[in-house]
């Protein structure tokens, strides 16, 4: 029996419109590459490190290649050529490029077939590595995971990776299932990924491969101590989406904040750049068995959650359509939504619950990620704690998968140790005390909630159909999302978008998509309990 009577014909229409939106943008995505994708290819092939000015080697090599007009062929093509040309192994070529002994513009372009053969081999090795890590995760999950959803997701944000480790382990011991290391302010606008362990982030900690590794190790330790697999999350977002996806794949991150439009709308990153980058980054996530978390909550930090609820739903449909096109399984698409209505709305809890139930019904296999109240949190930590409790109640009643815990000091500071403890205590108390309420209640036919859900659905559907008609990029130009207008040629990062040449070569999409679309890929994302 359906918990809320949702108009499924409308759902089909909305999904169809989203699919048309995806089809509309896909040819454009396929026609281009970006500097960040090419840097990512380098990273996957083993390029790492920084020069004496702390400039990452992938940037140095790709910038040179771009300056020499080589990038349209794909960096892989030129690396392959260099290997053949120099008769050297990949590590050797990388070493020579890194030390400046070799420059790609000095390399003679080689026969495409030969290049493919050479690089393919290397790419397969890297991919086998990633598969190995995925299997490692799956084994740990099968071995350890024993809690039931909603999974408790908690953030750490000290700016110092070593302090973060202390906070993260403490949170795990208190009962957190998922740890997100919040990223330093402004990193999304950097067109490179910082290097090495960092201790001086601002409002968050830099996303670096070393930091990923340090935290993953700490959480593996915590997982064993707690007898629960503790998941690690970071931000696969901003100008370096693909590279961060690669870093995550190589360091066994479990989830990634990764939204198709967030960068465009909220960080003023060029739309072309974003659409191209998100596609490739999502292929990596798909292949690595990573769950993505989309960022629909962001709409509600500026817009009113009651009035603009349909934009969240519309964005969920678009994120789903694009994610499927990158090979993500339904179970990997952690669509976002948020509990952000003004707490003083009469029956506000009913509207929130309606929205949450609706998302659950429309995206039955998605590990929905539910974001807590933030905007209406004030310095009244006591009322804030109650708002978080009602959010937790809505989460357990509507059967959310990932519950990002609200923190009573949301208005005040990034969470202190005790704030996190109280947040976890809150969630555990509420979710245990009302554990099976979901199975116990049903909603009134034609009641407040059903009406509300169908209204939101109808609005989202007509919005999606409009977007499909004029194309996604035009819709964004017209300010149809979050009332924010972005020009096609505006925003940061357009200079990193390059039209592919005929001989463009990148070995990874093929490998990723082959494995993904073959039946034997279906990553173990949670333990058995989720189904139960």
């Amino acid at each position: 029996m359906m918990r809320l009577d949702i108009d499924m014909a409308l759902v089909d229409r909305a999904r169809w419109a989203a699919s048309r939106i995806g089809d509309g943008i896909q040819p454009t995505i396929d026609a281009y590459t970006t500097t960040s994708i090419e840097r990512c290819v380098l990273r996957l092939l083993g390029v790492n490190g920084v020069d004496e000015n702390d400039v990452p080697l992938p940037n140095i090599i790709v910038d040179q290649a771009q300056a020499s007009g080589l990038l349209e062929d794909g960096i892989a093509y030129w690396i392959g050529s260099a290997m053949l040309h120099e008769g050297a192994s990949l590590p050797e070529v990388i070493a020579r490029l890194s030390s400046g002994k070799l420059s790609l513009d000095k390399v003679r372009p080689q026969d495409r077939e030969g290049v493919e053969q050479t690089i393919q081999h290397e790419a397969n090795r890297v991919c086998a590595n990633i598969t190995q890590l995925r299997l490692e995760r799956e084994q740990l999950i099968t071995e350890l995971n024993s809690t039931v959803p909603p999974y408790l997701y908690i953030i750490v944000a000290t700016g110092n990776i070593y302090e973060d480790v202390i906070q993260a382990k403490a949170a795990a011991k208190c009962g957190a299932d998922i740890i997100a290391v919040i990223r330093s302010t402004g990193q999304s606008l950097l067109d490179y990924v910082p290097y090495g362990p960092t201790t001086e982030g601002f409002g968050g900690t830099y996303a670096t491969q070393a930091n990923f590794r340090i935290m993953r190790e700490a959480l593996d330790e915590a997982s064993r101590e707690c007898g629960r697999y503790i998941r690690l999350v970071n931000y696969c977002s901003g100008l370096c989406m693909p590279e961060i996806a690669a870093m995550g794949a190589l360091e066994r991150l479990d989830m990634m904040l990764n939204d198709a439009m967030y960068g465009i709308l909220f960080r003023n990153i060029n739309m072309l750049r974003t659409f191209i980058d998100q596609h490739f980054s999502r292929m990596i996530n798909a292949y690595a068995g990573v769950i993505i978390n989309t960022g629909e909550d962001n709409y509600l930090t500026t817009a009113d959650a009651y009035e603009e609820a349909h934009t969240v739903l519309a964005s969920q449909f678009i994120n789903e359509a694009l994610a499927l096109r990158s090979g993500l399984e339904a179970g990997q698409i952690g669509l976002g939504h948020a509990y952000e209505m003004d707490p003083d709305i009469t029956d506000g809890f009913l509207y929130e619950l309606a929205q949450a139930e609706m998302a659950r019904i429309i995206f039955p296999d998605a590990p929905l990620k539910y974001m807590p109240p933030t905007k209406h949190m004030t310095g009244n930590i006591f009322k804030g704690h109650l708002m978080d409790a009602m959010f937790n109640l809505a989460g357990v009643i509507s059967g959310q998968t990932i519950q990002l815990l609200g923190i009573l000091t949301e208005h005040v500071h990034t969470p202190h140790l005790q704030d996190r403890y109280l947040a976890i205590e809150n969630a555990k108390y509420i979710m245990n005390n009302a554990r099976h309420l979901r199975e116990e209640i049903s909603y009134k036919k034609g009641g407040i909630m059903e009406k509300r859900a169908n209204e939101v659905l109808a609005k989202a559907t007509s919005m999606l159909e409009q977007v499909a008609d004029i194309s996604l990029m035009s819709a964004i130009e017209e300010g149809m999302f979050a009332s924010i207008k972005r020009e096609r040629t505006g925003g940061r990062g357009l200079d990193g978008v390059i039209r592919k040449s005929e001989r463009y070569y990148n070995p990874f999409p093929e490998i990723f998509m082959k494995e993904i679309t073959s039946c034997n890929f279906s990553p173990v994302l949670w333990g058995d309990e989720v189904k139960g």
Partner: protein
């Protein structure tokens, strides 16, 4: 209730009982000694009758405490003298009328969230058409011309814009306060304005959840606005302060006519 304003103390359920609640975490495992440490700490803060009413171990190496006690300190309210925004609050209509009649031209303001700060909701609430809590933003006022530059704007750009449009007021929003970044950023902005030599021509106004008028004055601003500010509050202040400064400048002209025609 007979409150002695020179010796205000916290009120639990009887005047001057001094009751307050504390919570904090100590970086030590929970033990009888840790509890005692919590008690001693509260005593050092000037609490009497300290009761550690809750103690809980967090992750084996931290201890969380909830404490009640009676505070021995008191505050002399009569000695508190803090600066207040110098304006009579007017309504949308009154503000427009005031500007029309007393200034006779549109007021130009530039606004932004500067530095690394990307929290635009606050400044948008003041500036944008849509406004806040049912009140229109300044953009909607016929007698205001507004430029809202958005988020993460370098202070330099904001000042340049102010010079370019000959702004009467610069409005800056600061929400992130970690490691006092807002203080640094606001100081920097004030210095820039000074360096550009436009300080006497513009009103320098700051707002944000942790901003008080007192802090703004300390930093050399003309006004500071905290949580709950409405567009009309800001509009009233700008109109009145501008009128005052135009008047002052005119008077100054009158006083030193020779300077005007050298």
């Amino acid at each position: 209730m007979d409150v002695n304003m020179t010796r205000i103390r916290p009120y639990g359920d009887t005047l001057d009982d001094g009751y307050m609640q504390l919570s904090f975490t100590l970086p030590v495992p929970l033990s009888a000694e840790a509890r005692k440490a919590a008690e001693i700490l509260a005593e050092k803060m000037g609490l009497e009758d300290v009761k550690v009413v809750y103690a809980h171990s967090i992750a084996d190496s931290f201890s969380f405490f909830v404490v009640y006690g009676r505070c021995i300190h008191s505050v002399d309210m009569t000695a508190i003298d803090i600066p207040k925004v110098d304006a009579d609050f007017m309504s949308y209509e009154e503000i427009n009328e005031f500007i029309e009649k007393r200034i006779g031209r549109k007021i130009v303001v530039v606004a932004a969230c500067t530095g690394t700060d990307a929290h635009t909701v606050g400044i948008d609430a003041i500036i944008n058409m849509k406004g806040y809590r049912g009140e229109y933003g300044l953009e909607r006022y016929p007698w205001f011309v507004t430029y809202n530059l958005g988020s993460q704007v370098p202070n330099e750009d904001l000042v340049a814009k102010a010079i370019q449009v000959d702004a009467d007021a610069i409005l800056v929003s600061q929400v992130v306060t970690q490691r006092n970044i807002h203080i640094d950023n606001l100081t920097h902005l004030a210095e820039l304005v000074e360096a550009e030599g436009i300080r006497d021509r513009v009103l320098l106004i700051v707002g944000g959840p942790r901003i008080s008028h007192e802090l703004a004055i300390e930093l050399g601003y003309d006004a500071g606005f905290g949580p709950g500010t409405l567009p009309s509050h800001v509009g009233s202040f700008i109109a009145q302060a501008l009128e005052r400064s135009i008047r002052n400048r005119a008077e100054a002209k009158g006083a030193y006519p020779c300077q005007m025609n050298p």
